[in-house]
């Protein structure tokens, strides 16, 4: 590396040599050059990355979107900073700014500075920005599939960034890729999502960058893999002293990984400080609200979740007062006097809230938090809608009463379901084995959550119940009205060229009624999900994500089904919207008396919404029981692993290994290759669901038993 590189001399004058294919040996050279110029200019900046009073305005049609409004942040060497915010907070725009990758056509209006190691990434010439990106920066994005070149072997792509094969190999090994040398010969589509993200991290680490900007790097991953990646990032920080700017909407992830947190709201910094301090005692009402609305594994059950009041921030206005004011439970009169500046609380704590701690009795920060908390708490009402006079439940209830089943009736019976999807040519014989003998029953009015990693077959099971996916063998029986489904991406489940009124009115086509009566029913249904009647003529794309989700729910329960199937109903929503949707589903459930089946990867959501929990692994149910019991006292090593992988809690010990490949499930207990408790017998027997007393039961048993399919469960010698 120290050898003089012949390319350096021409670098400044010739952009072409700086292209992505230039010999990466020159990285060190570029860095020396950059450093030299930096030190020469005498700007002795400590921060690896910093922005000062950064504002960005995008023009979208006639609207002007103020993505950032005067943001100043800094990332110190070896520090992991989490940038937390909901959609529209400007967190991703900030990341793009620091990478110097803002769109050029149409170019946004930019003010302020964004510097990486002293080089301004906004105004510097492209060649200089490229030099910084090569030598100082790494980037990891949400979807590694689109960031990798599908036509190149991953090894070749990493070598391109790293410079040599040996270097690439050591990077891949540092990124925790098992059998790195053989993996280098794979194409991106041959790798799992987690491995692809590790490849991206390896590429980002090439050339020992000072800073890696990671934009939602774990959002698309399974919770177990997310846990591994978060561990990896902390480890890399320790071993390589790399700084990370970690952009995420997930507070728990931020809490797990970050040293310092910057909470953003409406394109501004609301609060920043050490992660521990911010999460333990948030000062800004927004941070406090976000933390309170988070769905956690230890929150209270059977009460409505706290939600953030009001609508998400509108980015098309320039604020003249605190952007959070319309939603703030602690607002004071003087909050309207201009946008609050960041003020220093402690050595490293800043907050943009003018309310001082002494304005409240009691010990400062805590009292503000508890005041906020009180305001967020729902009115003390039960989950029954009949008590709230403003809820238009008349029609829906009337519908429900005739379809309502007694509580002992089984509404869904899935018996020994098997389903495989052939891979490629039909005669090749290879197939994804999505379901391998799963059984499930759902009682009337009951709520069941199915959890598992991708490839566990949970969505296939849900689609089989809905009737959309026919089974290869086994049976599905439904009592009462045909099931309805709320899809993961509500936006794409609504026909884009139809109006809200048409989409809802369609459910009533079987009933003879006047146009006027139908419209009244539609408006009633909109109100029941807290949408205003004004949206009836809107098209789905004119609604926000949360509104679309509520519309999808309204369609599903307009004619109440016997069972409502929900496929990851909250995963595409912001933190504050998720709890609103969970509350809504809970209310509809108790009001209409319908059973619900949730598919989710989020154990906290599962525990909150469900009476009973089913843990699936490779097309089979491995554990089943009362939700709270399974979460507090999991029996199957896989359930334990899932729980331990949930970020933001004290214990955090990710299970090793990749999510399994459903094309080729292991013999015996499918989990044994990853199981920390595996023994020889595990690869030979495939255990059945058993009670704690060792009594075998299928998934169709009556009652609320805690069943686990593991030879260690109950009597240790079991039935093996």
């Amino acid at each position: 590396m120290a050898a003089p590189d012949p390319g350096i001399g021409t670098l400044a004058g010739n952009e072409m040599t700086m292209s992505e294919t230039s010999p990466p040996e020159s990285r060190q050279g570029i860095r020396d050059q950059v450093d030299g110029r930096l030190h020469g200019s005498g700007s002795g900046l400590d921060a690896v990355a910093s922005t000062e009073d950064l504002s960005i305005t995008f023009a979208r049609g006639r609207q002007r979107i103020h993505a950032l409004q005067g943001v100043s942040i800094a990332v110190q060497p070896g520090e992991i900073v989490a940038l937390v915010g909901e959609s529209g907070s400007g967190k991703s725009a900030l990341g793009l700014c620091l990478l110097g990758l803002l769109p050029t056509r149409p170019a946004p209006e930019v003010a302020g500075t964004a510097t990486i190691c002293g080089v301004d990434m906004l105004t510097s010439p492209e060649s200089e920005k490229r030099a910084i990106r090569r030598s100082r920066l790494g980037a990891v994005f949400q979807d590694p599939m689109t960031s990798l070149n599908p036509t190149m072997r991953v090894g070749a792509q990493v070598i391109e960034a790293a410079g040599s094969e040996d270097e690439a190999l050591s990077l891949l090994e540092a990124a925790g890729i098992p059998h790195a040398r053989t993996r280098m010969r794979s194409y991106p589509h041959e790798l799992s999502g987690g491995l692809r993200q590790r490849v991206m991290i390896a590429m980002a680490l090439a050339g020992e960058p000072s800073l890696v900007i990671a934009d939602e790097p774990t959002t698309a991953l399974d919770v177990t893999v997310q846990a591994q990646i978060l561990e990896l990032i902390r480890e890399l920080r320790e071993t390589k002293r790399t700084s990370f700017l970690f952009v995420t909407h997930d507070l728990a992830v931020a809490q797990q990984v970050a040293d310092r947190v910057v909470v953003m709201y409406g394109g501004r910094v609301a609060e920043s400080g050490p992660a521990g301090a911010v999460f333990d005692s948030p000062y800004h009402p927004y941070s406090a609200g976000l933390l309170d609305t988070r769905i956690t594994l230890d929150g209270p059950l059977a009460v409505e979740l706290p939600t953030l009041a009001g609508d998400p921030v509108d980015n098309s206005v320039v604020f003249s007062s605190c952007p959070y004011l319309p939603r703030c439970p602690s607002a004071q009169a003087r909050c309207e006097d201009g946008v609050p500046e960041l003020r220093q609380l402690d050595a490293d704590r800043w907050v943009a809230c003018p309310i001082s701690a002494d304005e409240y009795s009691g010990p400062g920060l805590v009292s503000i938090r508890s005041k906020a908390r009180r305001a967020f708490q729902p009115a003390p009402r039960t989950l029954d809608l009949t008590e709230s006079p403003d809820s238009p439940e008349i029609q829906l209830r009337g519908e429900a009463s005739d379809g309502k089943a007694s509580s002992h009736q089984v509404v869904v019976t899935v018996n020994d379901a098997e389903k495989s999807f052939p891979l490629g040519r039909r005669d090749s014989g290879r197939a994804v084995l999505a379901l391998r003998g799963a059984s499930l029953r759902v009682m009337a009015g009951e709520s069941v959550a199915i959890v598992g990693e991708s490839g566990s077959g949970k969505t296939t099971l849900l689609r089989a119940i809905s009737g959309l996916t026919p089974l290869d063998s086994g049976s599905v029986q439904i009592e009462g009205r045909s099931p309805q489904m709320v899809f993961q991406d509500a936006g794409s489940s609504l026909t884009p060229w139809m109006t809200v009124g048409d989409i809802l009115g369609e459910r009533l086509r079987k009933e003879r009624m006047s146009r006027h009566a139908r419209r009244a029913r539609v408006i009633e249904a909109l109100r029941s999900v807290e949408l205003s009647a004004g949206v009836v003529d809107a098209k789905p794309h004119q609604l926000s994500g949360g509104q679309r989700q509520r519309l999808a729910i309204a369609r599903a329960v307009m004619v109440p089904p016997s069972v409502l199937l929900c496929d990851e109903p909250t995963s595409a929503l912001d933190v504050s919207m998720a709890s609103t949707v969970v509350n809504l589903l809970g209310r509809l459930r108790s009001d209409l008396g319908i059973a619900m089946v949730f598919v989710t990867h989020d154990l906290a959501v599962a525990r909150t919404v469900a009476d009973r929990l089913c843990v699936m692994y490779l097309g089979r149910v491995v554990e089943e029981g009362p939700a709270d019991l399974v979460c507090s006292n999991p029996g199957h090593p896989y359930s334990i692993a899932l729980l331990e992988s949930v970020p933001g809690r004290g214990r955090f010990s990710p299970v090793s290994g990749e999510p399994p490949n459903p094309v080729n499930p292991p013999a015996g207990c499918s989990f044994h290759p990853r199981c920390p408790q595996a023994e020889a017998a595990c690869s030979a027997t495939s255990p059945c669901l058993k009670t704690g007393q060792g009594e075998e039961m299928s998934g169709l048993h009556p009652g609320d038993h805690h069943l686990v399919a593991c030879i260690h469960w109950g009597g240790r010698l079991g039935s093996s």
Binding site: L468, M485, D489, S492, S493, R507
Partner: protein, 263 residues
């Protein structure tokens, strides 16, 4: 903006009986009596006159009118027949899809001009017969495009959602699938107009169109060929008209494509 060329040409075609100075079928008698092969710009003939003294300008205008409405008619029939076949095939899938698409393939394999010759030979020369012959080979193209669009849409979540909502198959096809294919059909059709104009002019040039003395651009060009060296305008003027019409259609088609946001 550019897309408005389509309605503009249609308007011109509608107004031809008013715009044309003379009857396209009857020779014009001038003061000197003889009016054959008058050069463009003389004796009030804007584009000259032909062998028997008919006004070339009027004949070209009527020719444009015929070509334009023929093209629109064939495209409309292609959109309707092809759209229906494609919609049924795409929305049904499975065996119905396979059978309908194989039938479509068979029609796609028919040679257009040969079919036209056969039809004209069997039923006698007439514009309508030619149009039927062209329409028979034209619709499979649309069927394939519509079917492809519908297949792609059928895999989307909103179709699953509609199915669960208890929507009938007919309504599923017409309300949840077809509107999604409309942009593709319209864009394809607008880029197809020029194609069709040239194909039909070619058939007419070969004598497979409306028989004499009907003013048709292809036929006029064919007749004018024998006088090309002495009285060039008789052949060149209708040729220029075909060229201009096709060019304008292509530009307008491109405009439609941009308008509907397709690349």
């Amino acid at each position: 903006m550019v897309a408005s060329v389509f309605p503009a040409i249609t308007l011109v075609a509608l107004l031809v009986p008013i715009l044309a100075p003379d009857n396209p079928l009857i020779p014009v008698t001038t003061s000197s009596g003889m009016s054959s092969f008058v050069a463009p710009g003389h004796h009030g003939f804007l584009l000259g006159s032909d062998l028997i003294g008919r006004d070339v300008f009027s004949r070209v205008l009527y020719g444009i009118r015929t070509s334009w409405f023929s093209a629109i008619g064939v495209i409309a029939s292609g959109m309707i027949i092809g759209g229906a076949v494609g919609l049924v095939a795409g929305a049904s899938g499975g065996l119905v899809d396979s059978i309908l698409m194989r039938i479509t393939d068979a029609f796609l394999a028919l040679p257009g001009p040969v079919i036209a010759i056969c039809v004209v030979a069997a039923m006698g020369p007439s514009l309508f017969h030619t149009l039927v012959a062209v329409a028979v080979v034209w619709w499979p193209f649309y069927a394939r495009i519509v079917r492809g669009e519908i297949r792609a849409l059928a895999g989307r979540t909103h179709v699953d959602a509609a199915r669960l909502a208890g929507v009938s198959r007919f309504r599923l096809a017409t309300r949840h699938l077809l509107p999604g294919a409309v942009p593709a059909i319209v864009v394809t059709a607008s880029l197809d107009v020029a194609n069709l104009l040239i194909t039909m002019a070619g058939l007419s040039f070969l004598g497979l169109g409306a028989p004499e003395p009907a003013p048709e651009l292809g036929a006029m060009a064919a007749q004018g060929m024998q006088f090309l060296l002495t009285d060039w305008w008789v052949a060149v003027m209708p040729g220029m008209a075909i060229f201009a019409l096709a060019l304008l259609s292509n530009i307008a088609g491109d405009g439609v494509r941009k308008l509907w946001g397709r690349s």
